[in-house]
Symmetry: C2
Subunit: 387 residues, 2 copies
């Protein structure tokens, strides 16, 4: 595949942005990314978004965004794979530039969730699951994850408290991230005291939603090598995605993320790396159980032993595999269709050495993994600092 | 760009499919397309859909479809650009195969609109327009088109009756299409009698919605030339898309489809053809005014003179530019996110000589054009029979 570089990144704070419309939030990230790239024009725009039709009565976000940001007339589409929409938009942008049809593109993720005009957000989020076989049974998205976590704890003999390190780590890392929604540290006592949402998932096992947008500018690496923009050259060395059954009950083992295994190992092969060579991993910790399952399917720990990495301190900034280094979904926040691009922006920050107090030392290779539905669509990207 | 062939086509009838769920409708088209291609497996699936989140409480249609049709684990996403979603899904599939990331893909368009569970379909369709500046004014989608038509009639001195040939032609061509929703001929008297919807658009100026799905299987042409499947080789010789302002009032001239002009002329250049070499044109006749504007922007007639082509009989099967040869949106029906792929399936039927009573003689080069929003996103494909 044609070598592709990420040459610009932009993001807005994840928060309740009552004073900004959907297009204004999107524009915030796109303008920042273009400015960071030192570009005014690109050939295409791919928007990851899940809920704008339901919550903002607005579809056609490709044209909405190009119109608003002054990139009128360029090719633009919305890409949707539930909470994996952001990663999917990047995957599409990569294929568009790799095909030679476009020379440059913006991949944008945007979600506006606070202002719902009376729509039930829990029901809206349940559209990520199987409406006929899960939704119709009254299963919300958190309920599905609670069943998976319950099963995992039973199957591998873990206690609820063993999951605490994932939330504590995420909150600690978010403290210095100005874009994070929850910049407050938590400890094990807070975790034990947290209100139960859907047993065994309590409030501190779950990520907060929010309004936000993140964007990257990509170009062919050849072009960047010729002109440059004063930033380190960060290229995409692995890009892959896979699907699994939409409903969790259709899987042989509900505690195994097959689409994560498939897409990650394809990306490892493309990049020519093994898990040992990944310096940090922005995983999809929508719920703490998802951190565990992601670490297992990607080969960082054996099956059933995910909580061990947290308990042994291996997920911290100087651990074996630092995760959620800017706060993750848990503390940076989870504006669902935007999340996949927040992850990629954060990987670029680390690879450029722009991660401030949570900088991973000598970060050369980073991985981002975005999940849509209960593991139904999983998109994995591996990035490398080529300088 | 890598040369790409369409080697399989499939569609379901456009109708009210109360006995079928969204996934069953999608599956019907995918199974037919795979069977027509003589293939059991592809590398990716791109689903064009606009309204499933709002009307069926179901997002994540990529995983929904791969799961249902037995293509589990392959890469799959939903692509959305309002009523241009189907053409957008094909455009994405083309870029994916052109990039070399995938060797084969299904592009699917699917929409289930009859069963709305109490949601207002008119409001759902208005999400294609600008929610903040058009929707908030109470403008429905038909109202926006009515304003455009009114302006066009005033500006170029046409009467309402001058638009009748477009609807009459579409209904005539649908008579022999077993997949068409409205297989009933109409005449000028019916057109004059038709109930007014939003002046000057009457019932016979407007296309009916419906439930339906259409799909194509694409592969690199090289691969097809090696193996073949007994069908004529139909390749994609032009593929382009462009955007315009989301709201019509932001355009210099509301009666000019700039994104159609841009995407069509880019596709002409790729294909090395001029309008004279296009044997037939499946255009996006959601309303009769859109047929007129499409024919003008694509260069088949000068600006302001679109109705002339209808009045002079030039849009019929043996006319200068046959359009809506299988019934178009007006009579085949307009299941919004699926429409772009119905158009492409119909172009392939013509190029293969499989169009029955409405076969265009010696059809070698055909064009399909899909529109999302009021001309905000326009996707153009030119196909050629290479045998």
């Amino acid at each position: 595949m044609r070598e592709i570089a990420i040459i610009g990144i932009g993001q807005t704070p994840v928060e309740e942005q009552w004073d900004k419309s959907l297009r204004e939030i999107a524009g915030g990230a796109v303008f920042s990314a273009l400015q960071d790239a030192g570009m005014e024009q690109v050939d295409g725009l791919f928007v990851g978004n899940m809920l704008s039709g339901i919550l903002s009565q607005q579809e056609n976000l490709g044209a909405l965004t190009t119109d608003w940001v002054g990139l009128r007339n360029i090719e633009a589409f919305k890409v949707e794979a539930a909470c994996g929409s952001g990663g999917s938009a990047l995957r599409m942008a990569i294929m568009a530039v790799a095909s030679g049809e476009l020379e440059s593109a913006v991949a944008l993720g945007v979600e506006k969730m606070s202002e719902t005009k009376g729509v039930d957000t829990t029901a809206a989020l349940a559209t990520a699951a199987d409406a006929d076989y899960e939704g119709a049974m009254g299963l919300s998205f958190v309920a599905i994850n609670a069943l998976v976590m319950q099963r995992y704890m039973h199957q591998y003999h873990w206690r609820h408290t063993d999951f605490a390190p994932f939330s504590i780590n995420a909150h600690r890392n978010a403290m210095s991230n100005p874009y994070a929604r929850l910049r407050e540290s938590i400890d094990i006592k807070d975790y034990h005291k947290a209100r139960m949402i859907c047993s065994p998932i309590n409030l501190l096992d779950a990520s907060p939603t929010g309004d936000g947008a993140a964007a990257v500018v990509i170009v062919s690496a050849d072009r960047f090598k010729r002109s440059g923009n004063g930033k380190p050259l960060v290229t995409i060395v692995g890009s892959a995605s896979a699907t699994d059954t939409l409903a969790v009950h259709d899987r042989k083992d509900p505690t195994w993320l097959d689409a994560a295994y498939r897409s990650t190992h394809q990306a490892y092969a493309q990049a020519g790396v093994s898990p040992e060579e990944i310096d940090f991993f922005e995983l999809h910790d929508a719920f703490s159980i998802m951190s565990v399952l992601s670490l297992e399917a990607t080969g960082f720990v054996e099956r059933g032993q995910g909580p061990r990495l947290g308990l042994d301190g291996e997920i911290g900034l100087s651990g074996r595999i630092p995760i959620t280094t800017r706060g993750g979904l848990k503390a940076r926040g989870h504006p669902v269709g935007a999340t996949g691009l927040y992850q990629v922006v954060e990987v670029v920050q680390q690879l450029r050495g722009e991660a401030g107090e949570t900088q991973v030392a000598n970060a050369r290779v980073g991985m981002a993994q975005n999940i849509g539905g209960s593991g139904a669509t999983i998109i994995t990207h591996i990035l490398r600092n080529q300088n």
